[in-house]
């Protein structure tokens, strides 16, 4: 237990290092700030829909894009600069490094997620339970951060732009199948089935519950699904990175 706590502390050190180095990298700014901003504007402007109806999709999309913007680039960058080898020479378990990468991605997502929350408070938009929304936001950010680190596991490249491009290929379709633009309850049965494999679906459904008092799945299912995806992505990210590590070091 003691060594677990010690390793967790070292994850925080890895995350602190990532924040200093990677938050200001071009691809992170583009994919984590510029891109979601313009996508959000395109989503909001010109739609004759009440803000409350728009907010679940908007929050979901912002959280998803920002929390997944840092994770895919870290491991390829560190592979290229050989700093991954440096980290692995230190007394840290492999999961400590992956967890640190997840944490930095999570913190980036969380910081940007504050913007819609401030907007909600400023505009005085009513919702079912603000605390529950914050909990959902935290779990969803961890889930998406783990997903982003998982996306950098394969192929074990040392070119960050390759991973960013491949992760975009996965992220965009997910946004389209997750009820951002069309709520899940309005999708045909095959659409609903596809939507159920996306973690974003459950998060947006959860936010819809909290804002509109209605959703496709029960609120508990939404929470449990986000947590289940979070654990699965974390486990898969550690295992898959472990499997590809030898290639990265060669």
């Amino acid at each position: 237990m003691n060594s677990f706590v010690e390793q967790f502390k070292r994850s925080l050190v890895v995350a602190e290092k990532n924040i200093k180095i990677y938050y200001s990298k071009g691809p992170v700014i583009v994919f984590g700030l510029v891109f979601p901003l313009f996508l959000a504007l395109a989503y909001v402007i010109g739609r004759n829909v009440p803000l409350k109806e728009i907010l679940p999709g908007l929050i979901g999309m912002t959280t998803f894009f920002t929390a997944t913007s840092v994770g895919p680039s870290i491991v390829p960058w560190e592979t290229r600069s050989k700093t991954l080898e440096r980290l692995l020479c230190c007394p840290v378990a492999f999961w400590t490094i992956i967890f640190g990468d997840m944490l930095s991605s999570f913190i980036f997502g969380l910081i940007i997620s504050v913007v819609p929350l401030v907007l909600i408070q400023t505009l005085g938009i009513e919702l079912l339970n603000f605390v529950l929304l914050i909990f959902g936001l935290v779990f969803a950010n961890i889930c998406f951060a783990a997903f982003s680190v998982l996306l950098s596991a394969y192929p074990p490249t040392d070119v960050p732009s390759t991973t960013m491009m491949l992760s975009s290929l996965v992220k965009f379709p997910l946004v389209f199948i997750s009820g951002v633009f069309i709520p899940v309850d309005q999708l045909p049965p095959w659409g609903t089935a596809i939507a159920s494999i996306s973690p974003l679906t459950y998060y947006i459904d959860m936010v819809r519950h909290l804002f509109l008092g209605k959703g496709f799945y029960p609120l508990t299912v939404d929470f449990l699904a986000v947590v289940a995806f979070m654990l699965a992505f974390t486990f898969a990210a550690i295992k898959l990175h472990e499997r590809t590590l030898a290639k990265r070091l060669s």
Binding site: R10, V13, K20, R86, L88, C90, A246
Partner: protein
């Protein structure tokens, strides 16, 4: 002597290629142990196994008393590593790099600041401590890497070709620091291509070739094992074809060396007599004659050229 490193039957394969093939050796506490070998001989793979970067396929390795397979984190807690390729974070300053390393080793912050300040001053980097590493020269980066490896005051220091590509002065500073570190009773495991460096720094040397240990001994003993590599450089007042000496039984080999003839022999005194007689007979004058013990480089080349020269 207690062992800082113990390697037993260690084997590492990459697909069909056996990078390290059942090697065994010990490194005593407080020893500077040199690891020599040509490119692709298995030096870096061995260091990577000992620093827990890769897992061996067979055999055992213990560093600072801990098993590299069973307790990798404990092993890493007691070692410092300077890898072959410079890999400090170039987007961080020297100070930030060292603080990062210290935190990853769990060094308390007050002690860490003290250590970092001491190391930066000791290695002449204190004045540039706040500069980003991307602005550093290769020599400065290499000094910083050594600082990073020493930040936790490790028991065993692994150095993978630390002076490779450095200018003479930076290499000399680094060698001085390694000697200084070792004089405090710490163990150094040094992989190098530089024979003179190995000769100067190491108490013992292992020569690895094709993944197998070809020899382990003190530099002087390794040279003594290869007495047939003693040589005589002889210069006559007129050019002489080295082939003239090739049929003499006491001579192993005779080769041209500038205006001289280099003669390899296990019996220099007999050969000197033969040369004097030869000069008299051919009406030549010996204008220069030097006898030389085999250099470490000679021993190294002899061992790596012979694929089957493997002792366990």
């Amino acid at each position: 002597m207690e062992n800082a490193v113990k390697v037993q039957d260690l084997t590492k394969r990459y697909g069909d290629v056996t990078a390290v093939d059942h090697i065994s050796f010990d490194v005593g506490k407080g020893e500077v142990f040199g690891f020599l070998g040509p490119n692709g001989a298995g030096k870096t793979t061995t260091i990577r196994v000992l620093t827990c970067l890769v897992k061996p396929d067979e055999g055992h390795a213990f560093v600072a008393g801990f098993d590299v397979l069973k307790s990798p984190v404990k092993v890493k807690q007691h070692i410092g590593v300077v890898p072959e390729v410079a890999n400090a974070y170039i987007d961080l300053s020297a100070w930030e790099n060292l603080i990062l390393m210290g935190k990853l080793y769990g060094v308390r912050m007050s002690k860490l600041r003290e250590n970092v300040t001491f190391l930066l001053k000791e290695f002449g980097l204190y004045e540039v401590k706040d500069k980003l590493v991307r602005a550093f020269s290769k020599g400065m980066k290499q000094r910083l890497l050594l600082c990073m490896a020493l930040v936790n005051d490790p028991e065993v220091l692994f150095l993978d070709e630390p002076t490779s590509g450095l200018d003479v002065e930076s290499a000399r500073i680094l060698r001085e620091k390694i000697t200084q570190y070792n004089s405090n009773g710490k163990t150094v495991f040094l992989s190098t291509h530089n024979m003179e460096e190995a000769n100067q720094l190491c108490h013992r040397i292992a020569i690895i070739n094709h993944g197998r240990i070809a020899a382990i001994d003190a530099p002087e003993s390794l040279r003594a094992q290869s007495m047939e590599l003693q040589c005589i450089d002889v210069a006559f007042n007129k050019p002489v074809d080295p082939q003239e000496f090739s049929s003499i039984p006491a001579i192993t080999e005779a080769v041209p060396a500038g205006n001289k003839v280099r003669i390899y022999t296990a019996d220099p005194s007999a050969v000197i007599e033969i040369l004097a007689e030869f000069a008299k007979k051919e009406n030549l004058r010996i204008i220069g004659l030097n006898t030389m013990m085999p250099s470490l480089e000679d021993v190294f080349l002899k061992l790596v050229k012979s694929k089957d020269a493997v002792i366990e």
